[in-house]
């Protein structure tokens, strides 16, 4: 199990916001993260749709000092310590308790994650289980987070699909997985070829 990288500070059934732990890197835009739900035994999967860095305390604003990062650490050590990175993830799927079959369901979980739950980046094998029939793409396309450019998020998701399959099974399988996801997306976009082409071009 990968180490926890972040902790939930805001939660709803649809999305959560997490603060990245000190010294950890923020997960990439469009990557999958997971949250284990102690009370239900479910593992929730969320797609990172927004990452933001800023002052930790409300009322304090970062300002430009004209110094390199290292100069800042040496002479204004509080500045880096007072910054934090937060990210928002759209909850798109969950896996039931392993004792209960451990089934992947590409839909919203019955219960929201809890504040202070830990968030981890998904390993490639977890990302591969979030594959066909790619129902989560429907949620992304039809109920997008209004603050996020949906197509860019789709590009990032498809790249993840390719990378996760490529790591285990080589080039050919990764292209197969990408084609399958592309087909699902094409149906969702009502054969809007131009939009689909624009997305696929950017996956290359």
């Amino acid at each position: 199990m990968p180490e926890a990288t972040a902790e939930i500070i805001e939660a709803s059934t649809r999305a959560f916001t997490a603060e990245v732990h000190d010294g950890e890197e923020a997960p990439a835009f469009g990557s999958w993260v997971e949250v284990e739900q102690a009370d239900t035994g479910h593992t929730l999967y969320g797609l990172v749709s927004h990452v933001e860095m800023g002052a930790r305390e409300p009322g304090r604003q970062a300002r430009a000092f004209g110094q390199s990062r290292e100069e800042l650490q040496r002479e204004r050590p509080q500045v880096m310590a007072l910054l934090r990175t937060i990210f928002r993830a759209q909850v798109l799927a969950y896996r039931t308790d392993p004792d209960d079959g451990g089934t992947i369901r590409q839909t919203l979980p019955p219960r929201l994650p809890s504040i202070h739950d830990f968030v981890r980046c998904c390993a490639p094998e977890a990302v591969r289980t979030l594959g066909a029939p790619y129902d989560f793409l429907r949620t992304l396309v039809q109920d997008p987070d209004p603050a996020v450019p949906t197509d860019d998020l789709l590009v990032a998701v498809l790249r993840q699909v390719r990378a996760a399959h490529g790591k285990a099974h080589g080039e050919e399988r990764s292209e197969d997985a990408l084609v399958e996801a592309g087909r699902a997306l094409s149906r969702l976009l009502d054969d809007d070829h131009e939009r689909l082409q624009s997305i696929l071009r950017r996956v290359e």
Binding site: R60, E70, Q73, R74, E75, R76, P77, Q78, A81
Partner: protein
């Protein structure tokens, strides 16, 4: 509600009054500058004359010529800077049960290194009176006054400064522990309770002694100091020459206005000793000396920077290296902090209790009482009416 319309006529008169007062101040300041020049050559005689006159009003003690100035030494690197600050929620006499809270920050920066800074605050919630019961009938009866809470906060700030300095000190690396405000606890006098005052001063003196024994130099920073001890000394000098007619020649002037005339940015004045009587309880080596310095205002080149007062115990003032260290740190801090020491701003940010937090604190008390089935916190009618004014 403020009737601004009614105020406008008074503001005219205020402007006229200020113009006169400032012209008068300029004349007196010129006299003070001349007196500073004149007494420099015979400062020992002036010092002795001041000593004969007793201690009211407070007169600066001279250790060297009072017109001496020193350029800012650079701050060495690496360097350990430590600071603390405190704030409090006083016992509210409109609220029962009585309780108070002190929040103390602890900050330490290892400048010139990539080591992790200390940025912490510690909260101390007191609801059983305080640990001064045996020294104060009031505290024994569960009544802790605002003055006691302030004194306890000052003590906690100094204790936190000592403890954080111990934690942050590194072998072979220079360190200065910076406090906010004065190290002279004159405000303790006036509690009208000699035993309590002695206990509080004794504890404070013991902490200062620990700093000295452990070789951790403290310094404190006073912004916009309202002292007139050097002005009073110059008054002594004028009276030595011109007799009692000059009694009021320098009336109303402050030391910082005088040094605004003489110090360039970064420079500090001579060091002086404080004659405050409260310090007789401090060990002799810990009695407070001070200097004035013109701190840089940061990037705003039109701002000449303010005159600050820096206080250090005598053992620090006696050691040229430690004194330079404190001076160099203050100047470098003010450069980075836009005219105020950056590390003290940080200490303030971590200690401050804002109004919504105070309100939340009272809500949490209410909840704690409710959970035990106790009657809710009693707020006086006056307090309630202020919170929810009716139309």
């Amino acid at each position: 509600m403020l009737d601004l319309h009614a105020l406008s006529a008074d503001l005219d008169a205020f402007g006229t009054y200020q113009a006169e007062a400032q012209a008068r101040r300029r004349r007196r300041l010129a006299d003070a500058c001349a007196a500073l020049d004149a007494c420099a050559d015979r400062w020992e005689a002036v010092r002795d004359a001041a000593a004969e006159r007793g201690s009211t009003p407070l007169v600066a003690g001279l250790r060297e010529a009072p017109d001496a100035t020193y350029a800012a030494p650079g701050r060495p690197t690496p360097f350990t800077a430590v600071a603390t600050d405190g704030s409090q929620i006083y016992p509210d006499r409109h609220v029962e049960p009585s309780c108070y809270l002190i929040n103390t920050s602890r900050i330490a920066f290892q400048y010139g290194t990539l080591e992790t800074p200390i940025l912490e605050a510690e909260v101390d919630f007191e609801y059983e009176g305080c640990d001064l019961a045996e020294h104060s009938p009031g505290a024994r009866a569960g009544r802790v006054s605002d003055e006691i809470v302030s004194a306890l906060r000052d003590e906690q700030e100094l204790r936190a400064l000592l403890e954080t300095s111990r934690r942050a000190r590194r072998k072979g690396r220079p360190l200065v522990a910076l406090a906010d405000g004065t190290l002279i606890r004159w405000m303790i006098r006036g509690m009208d309770d000699r035993d309590l005052e002695d206990e509080l001063i004794g504890r404070y003196a013991a902490l200062l002694e620990d700093f000295r024994r452990e070789g951790l130099p403290p310094a404190s920073y006073v912004s916009m100091p309202g002292n007139a001890e050097l002005i009073n000394l110059l008054g002594v000098h004028l009276r030595m020459n011109g007799g009692e007619d000059d009694e009021d020649a320098l009336a109303g002037l402050l030391d910082r206005w005088l040094f605004a005339e003489t110090l360039a940015v970064g420079e500090r004045s001579a060091t002086f000793t404080s004659a405050s009587r409260i310090q007789t309880r401090y060990a002799e080596a810990d009695r407070i000396c001070y200097f004035y310095t013109r701190v840089p205002a940061g990037s705003d080149s039109n701002d000449p920077g303010e005159i600050a007062r820096v206080e250090v115990p005598q053992w620090v003032a006696d050691d040229a290296d430690l004194l330079n260290r404190a001076h160099g740190l203050i100047i470098s801090e003010c450069e980075k902090g836009g005219g105020y020491p950056m590390i003290l701003s940080e200490a303030h940010e971590h200690a401050v209790i804002r109004a919504p937090e105070k309100e939340r604190f009272y809500q949490m008390i209410e909840r704690a009482l409710r959970e035990r089935g106790l009657p809710p916190m009693r707020r006086s009618r006056k307090d309630r009416s202020k919170r929810t004014p009716a139309v």
